[in-house]
């Protein structure tokens, strides 16, 4: 299809099978006060939540913490076969070191690009 001899080679490829990775935008909130979280701790919390619900076999897939912004929003990457498991584990997670806490999933997507903006949370600023 990629005939190099042609001047303009056109190529079209469609990926309909589940994407290799899924990306989740989430934040970890503690009850009452916002607690400092660093990416190392966050990763530990996520692995703990996976082990609790799905055991060592469920937690064997790699969950990447791609980014942790100052506002506490984290970007996670997970192979799509354990995407639902991770989402479920995050939802069921409720306590870390005895402190009640909750994961809020803001956005999920199969392409990292679409997590760069969210039209659902778009707050139209007043025109100055």
């Amino acid at each position: 299809m990629t005939g190099d001899s042609e001047k303009h080679s056109y190529l079209r490829q469609v990926d309909k099978s589940p994407a290799p990775y899924f990306y989740i935008k989430t934040s970890l909130e503690y009850e009452g006060r916002g607690l400092e979280t660093d990416s190392l701790q966050l990763k530990h919390v996520i692995m703990q939540s996976m082990t609790e619900v799905f055991g060592q076999v469920g937690a064997s897939d790699t969950v990447d913490v791609l980014k942790l912004s100052a506002s506490g929003e984290a970007l996670l990457r997970v192979p799509s076969r354990s995407f639902v498991k991770l989402w479920g584990a995050l939802t069921l997670f409720g306590k870390y070191n005895g402190l009640p806490c909750v994961f809020r999933v803001q956005q999920v997507s199969s392409s990292l690009m679409s997590l760069s903006c969210n039209s659902r949370t778009w707050d139209i600023p007043a025109m100055s």
Partner: protein
């Protein structure tokens, strides 16, 4: 009506010290060790889907054979969990799965065949003449059983072929 289907695992408890002794194991001990292994490997999810069906159906304290039951839909979880068992009761032990069957009957049949095949091995392990005689006797009786069994099947086949021959002519 749809029958709730199960899988039965026939497993042999192996003790790392390698001695064939009668040990004080209860079927509850086996159940809890399998459940613990399942929890470690598959977490709350594994317990949730299998707890209703997980059961130790048979435990032979002399031969250390167990039959464990699990729901068919998730039997692979149980199968994996059986390999992760490290301790039963207070003994270090692990499980060697010999057979997976759809009914207890199938497992029993397999167990009998398995024991028959392993009688010669037992004979080698015998120390006293008395034991040897005992095993020899058992070997003989199993051979007689086998003979009658094979005779029966031969007869059956013959009668079947006769019927087939008649129908052909």
């Amino acid at each position: 009506m749809v029958r709730l289907k199960h899988r039965y695992f026939l497993a042999e408890i192996i003790f790392p010290d390698g001695r064939r002794l009668q040990r004080n194991i209860k079927s509850n001990d086996v159940y809890f060790s399998v459940r613990e292994a399942l929890h470690a490997a598959y977490g709350d999810y594994g317990i949730g889907v299998l707890k209703s069906s997980l059961m130790v159906k048979y435990l032979n304290k002399d031969t250390h054979m167990v039959i464990v039951r699990a729901k068919r839909d998730f039997y692979r979880l149980a199968q994996a969990a059986l390999t992760f068992v490290k301790k039963i009761g207070e003994h270090d032990a692990f499980l060697n799965t010999l057979h997976i069957g759809g009914t207890i009957r199938a497992c029993q049949k397999f167990l009998i065949r398995h024991h028959r095949q392993h009688l010669p091995l037992l004979y080698q392990e015998c120390d006293t003449q008395e034991e040897r005689d005992n095993v020899q006797l058992m070997l003989l009786s199993s051979c007689v059983d086998m003979e009658t069994f094979s005779k029966k099947t031969e007869e059956k086949e013959r009668s079947l072929s006769e019927i087939a021959g008649e129908s052909l002519t």
